[in-house]
């Protein structure tokens, strides 16, 4: 009976399994193949020599540093917001979460471009500053003041801001999901047992929300470390991250081998960080991910 039953469900899964093998496993095997071959199809480790050049090493370094910085800023900004949203009565909470998600439906190319419009040399922020300086000039004490536009484009701060802005909802949502699932009686118990709000937060809320934090961190870090559009737009093409290198290798240079080697290393890097992260989180974090 049991065998029969499993056979039935296995046959239901067959289409799905075949699909996954052809369109997930096989493509990854292709990446592996191109990583370890040269353009003539001969087996080689030469692509790793390219990866070892100072330029590429530096590129990996910057990508990881920017992505880490963006993830930390996201977490610090998102956690308090998630706490506020989780404390809203359930009826209004869905509206509050919808409002967090809504900007995600503007194509992120456009969102990144509007950031550029804001921070350009003659962008909105500089225009506002200029107008402000113009007003100040009317006051005799400031009449000699001159306005020089602030240069934001190309700074690491702006690229990190771009990452934070584009991926912020990914951090908020899983934390909200976890926080709303915490039994409110636990907080009462903590206060009854002598916790101050701060120690109650540190000892009850924070540990219980760990799985949400872990999935938030992965959901921000993975796209941030592999992005190519944000960096090239907000730096005017001056800064190139790993994603930029991969995109260029595949779509402009047509060098599949180097591109594959880059993405192979990127994948290993992400797998390692996911592994480390998951050791800090609960098993549930997988289910709460989206």
């Amino acid at each position: 009976m049991n065998k029969n039953r499993n056979a039935k469900y296995m046959s239901m899964l067959s289409l799905h399994s075949v699909w996954c093998v052809i369109f997930i496993v096989v493509p990854l095997l292709f990446v592996l193949y191109y990583t370890f071959t040269d353009e003539q199809g001969h087996l080689t480790m030469g692509n790793f020599l390219y990866l070892g050049t100072p330029e590429i090493l530096k590129c990996f370094g910057i990508s990881i540093a920017y992505a880490l910085a963006a993830t930390v800023v996201c977490l610090l900004l998102a956690y308090p917001l998630a706490m506020v949203i989780a404390n809203i009565p359930a009826k209004n909470r869905s509206l509050a979460t919808l409002l967090v998600m809504l900007p995600m439906w503007v194509s992120f190319i456009i969102r990144t471009y509007t950031l550029k419009n804001l921070f350009n040399d003659n962008g909105i922020i500089n225009q506002l500053l200029e107008a402000f300086v113009g007003l100040l000039k009317n006051i005799p004490a400031f009449s000699s003041m001159d306005f020089t536009p602030i240069r934001f484009i190309g700074t690491s701060g702006l690229i990190i801001l771009g990452m934070v802005y584009d991926f912020f909802p990914y951090m908020v949502m899983p934390i909200v999901n976890v926080l709303t699932g915490i039994d409110p009686r636990l907080h009462e118990a903590a206060y009854d047992l002598g916790c101050t709000p701060w120690t109650g937060f540190l000892r009850v809320t924070l540990p219980l929300s760990r799985s949400g934090i872990v999935s938030g961190i992965t959901m921000v870090f993975v796209p941030a470390v592999s992005t190519f559009y944000i960096s090239s737009t907000l730096s005017g093409g001056l800064v190139s991250l790993v994603g930029d290198k991969i995109e260029a290798a595949f779509l402009t240079e047509g060098n599949f081998n180097r591109g594959s080697a880059l993405s192979f290393v990127l994948m290993i890097l992400i797998l390692l960080s996911l592994f480390v992260m998951n050791r800090f989180g609960d098993k549930e974090s997988e289910e709460l991910a989206p």
């Binding site: 239901m12 093998v21 493509p27 990446v31 809504l102 439906w105 909105i124 594959s260 990127l266 994948m267």
Partner: protein, 281 residues
């Protein structure tokens, strides 16, 4: 403390929506370039709402928009059907090891960066077309890629609902004379409907917004809206792109409200139905 929280949340929402506001403002720009914002419509030939009229007059963006919608609808439908079947079978399957392997493989596109998903598929398609000596990337390759990265999200949205389902429900249905297939379609599927629907909506929006995977798997024969916008943005961004995006946001907002009301109605219907059946007992 509470006031401080409200203030903080308000500030965060303001920052989240500031660039969106910039987008809407630029869609009414009085200049052709988006390097500066200006509303003095008299200075140049552009009048209020010019860029919206241009979107519809030139028709340039309407074809990509239509393509995007067709692709997203088909992707959502296929991944909903495949995902529901797969989630149901995975839930029922008693072979722990097989279950774990299939789930992990399905989740790869969710864990992998989009760029790797995209380029790995590009390698598969390029090699296939090379071996076959014919064919090229276009609608079919895009559809395959989109279904593949949407599947894990659909399954993930259905799984929790499956776990909530009373284990006796299918048995009760069969005791009352349902065949297994009837029990699935008439009893279990209606219970799963809200989760299936939210999986559909999720796949639809993911497909609609995707541009990284599409960049690697689309061809010149079939351009989606994000690809079209990306290609235009490379040169310079005319305000008409902001106009399209504003229209798009309004469209999505409408769809979202529609699906939300549909979903809450479905849930109400189901809960009132189960209340009635409980009363009858």
């Amino acid at each position: 403390m509470k006031k401080l929280g409200r203030f903080y949340a308000g500030l965060m929402y303001l920052l989240l929506y500031a660039p969106i506001l910039v987008m809407v403002l630029y869609s009414f720009n009085a200049k052709k370039s988006t390097s500066t914002l200006s509303f003095s419509y008299g200075a140049e030939k552009y009048t209020f709402g010019h860029w919206y009229r241009e979107v519809f007059a030139s028709g340039g963006a309407l074809i990509p928009l239509r393509n995007s919608l067709i692709l997203a609808l088909l992707t959502a439908f296929i991944s909903m059907v495949m995902g529901t079947l797969a989630a149901y079978a995975l839930y029922k399957l008693r072979l722990k090891y097989v279950k774990r392997v299939i789930t992990s493989v399905t989740n790869i596109p969710m864990m992998n960066p989009d760029i790797v998903t995209g380029l790995s598929m590009m390698l598969l398609f390029a090699t296939t077309f090379y071996v076959m000596g014919a064919g090229g990337t276009g609608f079919a390759t895009l559809l395959i890629a989109h279904v593949t990265f949407c599947l894990p999200y659909v399954i993930l949205s259905i799984m929790p609902r499956l776990r909530q389902m009373d284990k006796n429900l299918p048995e009760a249905a069969m005791d009352l004379g349902c065949t297994p297939i009837q029990s699935f379609f008439m009893v279990q599927l209606p219970f799963l409907a809200p989760a299936v629907l939210s999986g559909f909506v999720m796949a639809f929006t993911l497909s609609l917004d995707d541009y990284v995977v599409s960049l690697f798997t689309s061809g010149p024969s079939f351009e989606t809206l994000p690809i079209y916008v990306y290609n235009m943005a490379r040169r310079s961004v005319p305000p008409s792109i902001y106009a399209i995006s504003t229209l798009f946001l309004v469209l999505v907002l409408g769809l979202l409200i529609l699906s939300n009301t549909m979903q809450s109605r479905l849930e109400k219907k189901i809960s009132s139905h189960s209340e009635r059946t409980q009363k009858n007992q």
